[in-house]
């Protein structure tokens, strides 16, 4: 594939109650092989997907939250999080997983993948994309 497009994955649903969070993550992982320009957006209940401290032992379901932590290794370095969605839910960025990536152009310095954005910034972000995937 010669063309590089800007792909935005829009995550608006909570994990575990439905399968969308898990299966959209699987698309991100497979998609990494296609070397497109990928960004993730977490908004509305989607912010819960990257909440710290998920313990699924008693539920019998697979805890897939560690996969978000590994996304930096898949060249997914831009994870936009809607500030308003956090506030509505009584959360701050400290309640989220510490998502980072290693910048090989900067001596492998660890950098934050999470970028807090307002709804106006989200509108602009969406307009910049070539392809928007929703789950």
């Amino acid at each position: 594939m010669s063309e590089t497009k800007k792909f935005l994955y829009v995550n608006r649903k909570a994990p575990y109650g439905t399968v969308y969070a898990l299966e959209s993550l699987e698309v991100v992982l497979i998609g990494a092989a296609f070397e497109q320009d990928v960004q993730l957006l977490f908004m509305d209940d989607g912010v819960f997907q990257i909440a710290k401290g998920q313990d699924t032992a008693e539920s019998g379901m697979k805890n897939f939250s560690p996969t978000y932590t590994a996304l930096g290794d898949y060249e997914v370095t831009k994870m936009y999080v809607d500030k308003e969605s956090l506030e509505e839910r009584g959360l701050t960025v400290d309640d989220l997983l510490p998502l980072v990536w290693e910048d090989e152009d900067d001596d492998y310095a660890e950098k934050d993948s999470i970028i807090l954005v307002s709804r106006d910034e989200i509108a602009a972000l969406m307009e910049e994309q070539d392809v928007v995937l929703s789950f």
């Binding site: 608006r12 509305d44 709804r119 509108a123 602009a124 969406m126 307009e127 994309q129 929703s134």
Partner: protein, 99 residues
């Protein structure tokens, strides 16, 4: 950009989130249960009418008619058929589905 909203605004916040994130000149198409967002006199009608100042709002006629609300649609919301839906995806540079 074309935004599609398929959920009722009375059970789900998709329409609200969508309207918060649309840029000037975008298009919003209400489909499936999302057409209830086009109901005049509802608790979300004012928010929809306010958005109509910056974006064009459409509703899919098949879904409006199926739900028996054709005579209750907010003035200014344009009804389109499936062919019109296709045209909207062509006229706008990309599509975002608010699910």
């Amino acid at each position: 950009m074309l935004h599609t909203v398929n959920k009722s605004p009375f059970t789900n916040n998709s329409l609200e989130s969508c309207l918060d994130c649309v840029a000037d000149g975008a298009a919003v198409l209400l489909i499936e249960d999302g057409v209830y967002g086009a109901l005049n006199g509802s608790k979300v009608a004012d928010k929809v009418k306010a958005a109509m100042g910056k974006v064009t709002v459409y509703a899919l006629s098949a879904d409006v008619k199926a739900r028996g609300i054709a005579d209750k649609v907010i003035d200014g919301i344009k009804l389109v058929d499936y062919a019109g839906f296709v045209d909207l995806t062509v006229e706008n540079d990309k599509v975002q589905a608010w699910l």
